[in-house]
């Protein structure tokens, strides 16, 4: 494993005005090239983990942070579940929206345009380049927002339920992109209830409960509550359990 990009050492974070911590005594490291699936019940702290990891909390949203957090990420990118809140509101075309990040890097105009087009193509939405973002469907907009995050070539990509607005094929395509992003040297953290899809691409999984890390390890040992794993468990399959439908079918076929 390469040097950690992120290092949490006994980090406790409280939202402004909250008595209970949203993250409690979290200690873990994330290296470049890893894809970490963050799971847990709603309110477990996965979104807060992303905000703290990206340096957005407490810097932008307030609250208090205890412990030591070291981040070597120079270009964190974050995508939330609701894409319409992530539009800049300043751009009339999808291309301009995606180019917003690269445009802040002071690159020449042609390089900014090329970065935006490349990113749109990666998400399969280059044909939307001249559309007004306000006229897109939720699924199209979600892909555009992910493209906007990728256009900046992030070294830390934080995804909060990124497939919430996508159809199954779109969600599959989005998750299929992540190994490429990680292979290019970024660390990817995905907070998602869609553990079946996360299990296909994650190199590691972290389960949170009440803001605490309760499990951290290989997806096969942490993401054991997928529908496929439950079926396999009830059928008496030995470990490691198959985590998705394809793996389950393959196991049964054997």
């Amino acid at each position: 494993m390469s040097a950690p990009l992120l290092r949490f050492a006994q980090v406790t974070y409280r939202h402004a005005g909250a008595l209970a911590p949203a993250l409690a005594d979290v200690t873990l490291e994330v290296a470049a090239g890893e894809i970490v699936a963050l799971t847990g019940a709603p309110g477990a702290g996965a979104t807060t983990f992303l905000l703290v990891a990206g340096g957005f909390a407490p810097r932008l949203i307030g609250g208090t942070l205890e412990g030591t957090l070291h981040s070597a990420a120079a270009r964190p990118g974050i995508v939330f579940a609701a894409p319409w809140t992530q539009l800049t509101g300043l751009c009339q075309t999808v291309l301009a929206e995606v180019a917003f990040g690269p445009a802040g890097l002071g690159l020449p105009r042609e390089a900014v345009r090329a970065a935006a087009e490349r990113s749109l193509e990666r998400l399969g939405v280059l044909h939307l380049a001249e559309r007004d973002p306000a006229t897109l469907s939720g699924g199209e907009l979600q892909r555009v927002i992910v493209a906007a995050a990728l256009a900046q070539d992030p070294d830390l990509l934080l995804l909060d339920d990124p497939a919430a607005e996508l159809d199954p094929a779109g969600a599959d395509a989005l998750y299929a992109l992540l190994p490429g992003v990680a292979a290019a040297g970024a660390a990817v953290l995905v907070a998602t209830p869609d553990i079946e899809r996360a299990a296909r691409v994650a190199t590691r999984a972290v389960r949170l409960d009440g803001g605490r890390v309760v499990a951290d390890g290989a997806p096969a040992t942490v993401l054991t509550d997928t529908p496929a794993a439950r079926i396999a468990r009830s059928a008496g399959c030995p470990a490691p359990l198959p985590l998705d439908a394809e793996a389950l079918v393959a196991r049964v076929a054997r």
Partner: protein, 253 residues
């Protein structure tokens, strides 16, 4: 309707600073003018500006809706309660100086309303962003200006969505005035709370996309400018400034 209306008029095609400079010039000039006739000319200039942008009909309604109450108030307050001499108007006796004052103030308001509603209608926020980015305006200032310009259309779109959702859930909009006022609650509360909640995520998203980075941003598609437009802008601003200086000098005498 308030907000940008796509079009192909000379004002739509102009550099965004040009209609802005013309509107600001009218604003300065109309405050320097003191007679109803001169203010009337400024109103006419604002109307010509709107017509040149092909948005006269588009700006007339909001200008009327916003300005009508003020006009009535000005005429009643200054016309009926102003100092003598008085003019007979049927059963009423109206103050000549009060009417003069009401016409000047009302004309100023109308000029400003028509000029700036025209700017909102003909200046694309995206082109304005590109124009300001090209000039190296700081992102925070640019965002403040453009988000203010686009506030009304954004709130209107959101209010329409909330209204449809609440109607689907049984909200009835008709009935007595009291029932109509009561129906405002389910509209206004989600509108305000939703806007506040979204601001948090938008701040994070903008920050993550480098909005706060130091250094000059690259304009993706900067609007074309020309020597003629620059001359028109400076000439309009200089005329307005000259009128203002003349007014100050006149008062000093």
């Amino acid at each position: 309707m308030i907000g940008y209306r796509p079009g192909d008029s000379p004002l739509h095609r102009a550099h965004p600073y040009t209609p802005l400079a013309l509107a600001v010039s009218l604003l300065l000039a109309v405050f320097a003018l003191g007679s109803p006739g001169a203010v009337g000319a400024a109103v006419l200039a604002a109307v010509i500006l709107a017509a040149a942008g092909g948005v006269l009909g588009y700006t007339a309604r909001p200008a009327f809706v916003i300005g009508f109450t003020t006009w009535v108030l000005l005429l009643v307050l200054h016309g009926l309660l102003g100092p003598g001499p008085f003019l007979a108007a049927g059963p009423l006796s109206l103050s000549a100086r009060g009417l003069h004052r009401a016409l000047v103030l009302g004309g100023r308001l109308t000029t400003i309303l028509v000029a700036f509603l025209t700017v909102l209608a003909v200046v694309s926020p995206a082109r304005l962003v590109d124009a300001m980015t090209e000039r190296g305006v700081a992102f925070a200032k640019m965002y403040l200006l453009v988000s203010t310009l686009t506030l009304v259309p954004r709130l209107r779109a959101r209010a329409a969505q909330i209204l449809e959702a609440q109607q689907c859930r049984g909200l009835r909009l008709g009935g007595s005035p009291l029932a109509r006022v009561a129906a405002l609650g389910p509209l206004v509360l989600p509108l305000v709370l939703g806007a506040l909640a979204e601001v948090d995520e938008q701040v994070l998203a903008l920050d993550a996309r480098g909005a706060g980075r130091a250094g000059r941003r690259t304009a993706l598609d900067p609007p074309a400018d020309s020597a003629l437009q620059r001359t028109v802008r400076w000439a309009a601003l200089l005329v307005a400034a000259a009128l203002f200086v003349a007014k100050v000098a006149e008062r000093a005498q």
